[in-house]
Amino acid sequence: MTHEHLERAIDRLGADPWNAFIGFDADAARERAPTSTDGPLAGVVVSVKDNLAVKGLAMTCASRFLADYVSPYTATVVARLERAGALVLGKTNMDEFACGSSGESSAFGPTRNPVDQTRVPGGSSSGAGASIAAGVVDAGIGSDTGGSVRAPGSFCGVAALKPSPGALSRHGLSDLAMSLESPAPMGRTVANVRELLTAMAGPDDHDPATSAFAFAPERTGPLRVGIVPQFFEAAEPDVAARVDAAARALTDAGHEIVEHSLPAVGDGLATYYLLNYAEFASAMQRYDGTRYGPLASTPEAARACLGPEVKRRILMGTYVTSREGRARWYTRALHARAAIARDVTAAFQDVDVLVGPTMPFRAFPLGERVSDPRALYAADVLTVTANLAGVPAGTVPLTGPGLPIGLQVMGATARDFDVLRVMADVERLSGVAA
């Protein structure tokens, strides 16, 4: 039975007109398929972002630097999905080393949005979003450092959750900004996302952050839902109006709607990028061509094949942590992050969840922002807060005319299942599955 599902996914992928996968190999997928059909995810076909290790498969991080790298082990989250019966179809395209919000910076070419192939799918988990939106797979694993599953979720019309830090093991995830990122489930429905999160979560000896983590029990009564005016002010008017209507419709599910201001959100974008650059430049030091990478005479020669956005971020990170730039940039960003985390933590003394638009606009045309890093970075203005504050945040697609729009739900740390509950309520009342 499970193999029928796999064959159907292979048929749907066809020649992959969305460029959603990297190095897709149908026979390798068939070989990995378990013979047993047991488990809570039996028959669920999933895609895996190409920055997560699957033993014996290439893991390129969408970079020429890792074009020949073969994973020597399997990421904990992938192993747990397979143990639950899921079938891994293949590795999905992404922005190179997760550096991007549009899905255009892959060394293997941009991913196309299945809803409109002239538009970006959102990134960096671009292929994960596209593989679900195209109906190839039911669900996928991406990773989220500043919105990398929520952007493709919003642009492609897919549900996604960035979990609390420590909920999912990062063992086998190529770490790029380790204080901010997590593996993250995506799915056609909120129920798919919940199933994946449940199967992947739990302590892992390979990731100490998971040992002290436990989800808070899901609350069952009415919740206090905070509408954050700063999130709506940053979005285009029609996006803000649709999300506002969907948020207010949550009263039909018995929830109470209140306004809750979050002034520190204004610092989020700059703070996020400064810390991302710093951690990324540090993480990329290992890419020197000795343990993996292209055969080259020097680290500089090996690193020449890195793409422009990767080089730009390495330079920025090296500069903002250098003697010349540290006090002005990196130290300021650390303090701003602490202030943002305090603001968000205080908000959850007043409300149970915070809602707003996931992205400030709909999917934009391929190539429109690619040469302007400031315009690309601006896309992340509404998603980075959750990563900086260390709280869970999900996106759920809304029904309506035009390109997809996502509504974002943020909860307190460890309250991931409250977030999923509100996402499911939005999906039922105003979502594409309504």
Binding site: V70, R291, R328, W329, R332
Partner: protein, 88 residues
């Protein structure tokens, strides 16, 4: 403090990146633009005091289950060891 072309050159050396003339110009322009924007956006004083301390854990050595698979990705192996070339 302005990011000069000389500072960028120094930063590129620290980052082990050889930049072409075109890259030097483009990255210099991009980085100045982005940092200008961030300067306006981030509402914290430049002298925001000591950095919040990081919490570090002890490193724990764990043997890998499949050394051969690890070494299979090494570009230059010599007698089963990683050849890192001269550093001095």
């Amino acid at each position: 403090m302005e990011l000069t072309a000389e500072t960028l050159e120094h930063v590129a050396r620290l980052a082990r990146l050889d930049l072409s003339e075109d890259e030097r110009e483009t990255f210099h322009r991009d980085i100045v633009h982005v940092l200008d924007l961030f300067d306006a956006l981030i509402d914290r004083p430049a002298d925001a005091g000591r950095e919040p301390a990081s919490q570090l854990r002890e490193d724990i050595v764990v043997p890998h289950e499949d050394i051969a698979a690890l070494l299979a990705n090494v570009p230059r192996l010599k007698d089963g060891r990683i050849d890192v070339g001269r550093s001095l």
